[in-house]
Amino acid sequence: MTGQPLLRVAGVTRRYGTRIGCRDVTFDLWPGEVLGIVGESGSGKTTLLKCLSAQLEPDAGRIVYATRDDGPQDIFALSEPRRRLLARTDWGIVHQHPVEGLRMKVSAGANVGERLMAVGARHYGQIRTSALDWLGRVEIPRDRIDDMPRTFSGGMLQRLQIARNLVSQPRLVFMDEPTGSLDVSVQARLLDLLRGLVADLGLSVVVVTHDLAVARLLAHRLMVMRAGSVVEEGLTDQVLDDPQHPYTQLLVASILHP
């Protein structure tokens, strides 16, 4: 972890009318780091993630991203075309429900190849080769490349969504409950896969989850949110094994141990 942070977040606040979405969130994300954001439903996790990934403009605060070419830039000061380009190339966004992040009416291969075509790839053979390569990396059989996403299982859809995001070789990936709608054994495989990909590609990840087990497996560092504010943050093991804030203690204590 040298040089500068990939993402610098300072005082980000988002309100919905008089209600608070998230309040005064500040953190740095370093290259190769996985940051987990945990908390119960309605604690502002998703609002924060949407602000970070430029899907929602915060009411206050700055989000500075270290771009490849021009160094650190405030993402909301960038022009809209550049911001959209950034989101399509340098970032990935993995939604909880794959339907939101995939085009359900085109084949798996086209889903994976779309980002390549969006940045100007015009050679069918090369697009297809990359799509095949990425399907292999997320453990989808290569002969499913021309199948429609609706013929895929939930776990496969989520892996397809991940491949679609990673094909453009992003540096930063936002994940909103990536394992939320999967059963436990499929969750475990997906987490395994994600861990491998993150390590291999040196990705930085912000992962939102309410599942502390997911946080423990994936995240290096944790932020615990409650009612829009960050109540505790630190290394994952430290937060989960020695929670300081009463809310974190409650959260950790409410996990069932079979």
Partner: protein
């Protein structure tokens, strides 16, 4: 015709449409919204094209109307008669004589000249609609020239059929900037749009959009480097006139499955026959050469 203004529409409406046309010409390929009027025929029958024609037609114009290349099909006949009655202008079936050609589904085989205008009837103007149902979003995609997703459709074609199977309404880039639907013309006609000396106007009545390709504007069909754009070809010639370079329709000639291929552009075919070209089955449609439609 008593009780109606020249060319059916009132002058204020024509003025509004002309403004939209001017804007469309100024921004090649850009879809200009306009206040489309109710016309005395249903949507889908060419209400957009008719309004554009009504806005530009003058007393000295000569109008030709074609539908699938032919002058004698229902849609072409009814629109031609509509303008004959509401304007009294001369109509023709000959491409060479026309100053305005209103068309559905074809561009005439004879190259258009600088003194001609072609008006296309457009059912769905938005090329990105198939993948993005939101108008706000497609407008933004046009504004930012985010057209990569359009290749997803071509990718699907190649993945499924081994080649780009889109055969009509084939997407084009106009002047290197705007992605445009050329209306449901066969892709055979796409090359004719490129740097055409004629002004090309497009009217979509139900969707309330007008767009244009000004003369001499570059129109490029989308493709892949390893699957380049190509037009349809046939392994036979026109049965009536023997043309090998025109767009052919398959016509069933009897109830025993007999079929022939004939030029879809009836004027082109007739002209060739009048000039002495004879195909392998000149009488297949029961029309002797000398009685060919002129």
């Amino acid at each position: 015709m008593d009780g109606y203004n020249f060319a059916y529409l009132d002058e204020q409406t024509k003025r509004m449409i002309r403004r939209a046309i001017l804007k469309a010409v100024a921004i090649p390929g850009y879809q200009v919204p306009f206040a489309s009027r109710e016309m005395p025929l249903p949507y889908g029958w060419g209400t957009g094209g008719i309004q554009v024609t009504a806005a530009i037609i003058g007393t000295a114009d000569v109008l030709k109307v074609i539908d699938q290349g032919a002058d004698d099909t229902t849609n072409a006949v009814s629109i031609r008669r509509f303008f004959a009655r509401t304007t009294g202008v001369a109509t023709t079936e000959r491409t060479a004589e026309a100053t305005i050609v209103q068309t559905r589904h074809r561009i005439p085989e004879r190259a258009l000249g600088a003194d001609q205008i072609i008006v296309f009837q457009v059912p769905i103007p938005e090329p990105l609609r198939w993948l993005e149902p939101r108008e706000t979003e497609t407008r933004k995609m046009h504004a930012l020239a985010e057209y990569g997703a359009m290749h997803v459709k071509l990718y699907e074609d190649v993945a499924r059929h081994g080649r780009i199977a889109t055969a009509y309404d084939y997407p084009v880039m106009v002047s290197g900037r705007y992605l445009m639907r050329p209306s449901p013309i066969p892709k055979f006609d796409n090359p004719k749009m490129d740097r055409s000396p004629a002004l090309q106007l497009f009217g979509a009545g139900r969707e309330k959009r007008i767009y244009a390709v000004p003369p001499w504007t570059a129109v490029v069909s989308l493709d892949f480097e390893d699957h380049p754009f190509e037009v349809q070809s046939w392994d036979q010639c026109c049965a009536l006139c023997g043309a090998e370079d025109s767009f052919l329709d398959e016509v069933i000639v009897d109830d025993r499955g007999g079929r022939i291929y004939v030029c879809s552009d009836s004027d082109h075919c007739g002209e060739r026959r009048a000039a002495g070209h004879v195909g392998p089955q000149p009488d297949a449609l029961g029309q002797p050469v000398e009685a060919a439609p002129r």
